[in-house]
Homo-oligomer: 323 residues x 2
């Protein structure tokens, strides 16, 4: 059920933030520099813990808290091998909000909430949104097929997913996938979302810890130049680089699941996104990369989105749209 | 370049219609009954000529003109084998608007326009939108990955495609794919479109010539229950029925392109959509089928969309949004 038109925005309230603009907690890109910059600008910054060893995450949380007194979050992939240590750090260092993904929200939600932490789960279908609500999460991110990185097998796009999730759950819904500016933010809010999460747009910021060569490649990525592939393993959207072409060759040679896993190997995303190995690495980004044209400060990104949203008349459409 | 915020809506003006709501010219579903009902209700109805023999199309155009004095259109797939005969009928019977698809708009655009016919081309990428504009078409339909039936190979979703096409061409853009109600219509307009084309929503109307068993199946289609497949031939989005499962088995058995073509055979969509053979047939529909819950009169669909759009505050966002 959508929020009532005249009900205030529940996402800004839930997170104690100024604007319902959330920066995705992307591996290799979202460290404390990016998260704190977004939070300082009035959005919600998220540290991506999926690519961090436990002691690295502790360091990022500590530095983020030193850099901003505002709300921030940690993204926690529930299949992370050392998850107990991550959860321990999150609780001990008093992270106020956790976005969980890639796994069942049943296991950790109540434990985190018992420490006063708000929990949001990322889903790619209305079925998982309903399961997440039943598990007691405070909100869901509904992420469409066009999003970068790991994604659902159902291939439901943002335009179709948001109304479906809105119809299914009562908790607030954050839209993700294909969103990058004030107009697309407003489009997602019109579909019923109360906030937006943007990943690709924040990869191309000065504070993103992605390798500069990866950032430049993102800016050069044209329409149709990414694909969701490797569905036999974990579906992932990546740029059509040399490694991607090897994946396609493997499919053409009718490779087995095991052969695909061997081809993928380990550390592909680190090589591509953090070390700037543009040929060997896996370059994860969303379809909307085709609309990006500059590497900007994260705070400027937030304020530009807010200006464009207001200019488009967003705040005039009802209390849910106001900030 | 998007239309200026304070410029009037160019789609209602171009087609001389009341609302910029266009019913897709779908094969086996969009005959004169549906097209005339949509046009009578203030939208633009389109006869889908792709599934019609030349004499059948003549009959549908004649009956449509008898049923409504308002604007209507014919959808013309440019790969239609007997295209000269279709074009002859369109000109002779004074069809005011033609939507072309599946082929190059270079060949027929100027001929049709020389007879006073408005020409709109359906595209799935900004590159093809630019080529269409260069070919002189009056507007484009930008159709995202989530749409039903035949579709582009690039898999660009509506949320990503619309801003990209808006940035690329100066002619007005009609959005398609994943749109079904007043909110999704407004979302598409916020992204820069000046009109919307809806297919799946109009399949599930009383006037649609689809088989009643296909219409019922559309209403039962859940989220994630369609896929874009057969990309080696012509990519097509269909429901996961028995025929679809045979396609998947063929892929698992590493079928060649020739074997896939043999499996598809001829007349699959007619069997499924017109004859109601739900197992053997190809059931083409968009992802948004999951949101449909009733078979309604087409005129009621149009008026409900208009009411919801207005209720959402659409008309307050600028002259381009007004009708």
């Amino acid at each position: 059920m959508a929020a009532e038109k005249n009900q205030g925005n529940r996402i800004t309230e839930l997170f104690s933030i100024e604007y319902p603009i959330i920066q995705g907690g992307m591996i290799w890109c979202a460290g404390w520099e990016l998260a704190s910059a977004v939070s300082e600008a009035g959005g919600l910054g998220i540290i991506g813990s999926g690519s961090m060893y436990p002691d690295v995450l502790r360091e990022h949380i500590t530095k983020c808290k030193a850099a901003t007194s505002k709300s921030f979050a940690v993204n926690l992939p529930l299949l992370y091998p050392d998850i107990d240590k991550h959860v321990e750090s999150i609780i001990e260092l008093e992270v106020p909000i956790v976005f969980t993904s890639a796994g069942s929200p049943k296991i950790w939600t109540s434990k985190l909430q018992s420490h006063g932490i708000k929990v949001v789960h990322v889903v790619s279908s209305a079925v998982f949104a309903a399961k997440s609500e039943a598990a007691g999460v405070d909100a869901v991110v509904a992420e469409g097929f066009e999003a970068g990185g790991h994604n659902g097998r159902e291939e439901t796009t943002t335009m179709c997913l948001i109304p479906s999730v809105i119809d299914t759950v009562d908790i607030p819904v954050i839209a993700a996938g294909g969103l990058y500016d004030g107009n697309s933010m407003l489009a997602a809010m019109v579909l019923g979302a109360e906030g937006v999460q943007m990943g690709s747009r924040f990869v191309a910021t000065e504070e993103s810890s992605a390798h500069i060569e990866f950032k430049k490649t993102v800016l050069e990525t044209g329409e149709g130049a990414t694909s969701l592939t490797l569905k036999e393993l974990t579906p992932v959207r990546m740029i059509h680089n040399a490694f991607y072409r090897k994946v396609i060759e493997a499919y053409e040679a009718k490779a087995s699941k095991e052969e695909l896993a061997e081809l993928l190997g380990r550390g592909r995303s680190k090589q591509g996104m953090f070390e700037g190995k543009l040929d060997e690495g896996e370059l994860e980004i969303g379809q909307i990369a085709s609309m990006l044209s500059a590497i900007q400060p994260a705070g400027k990104v937030v304020s530009d989105i807010v200006s464009q949203y207001r200019e488009a008349g967003g705040c005039s459409l009802g209390k849910r749209f106001e900030f």
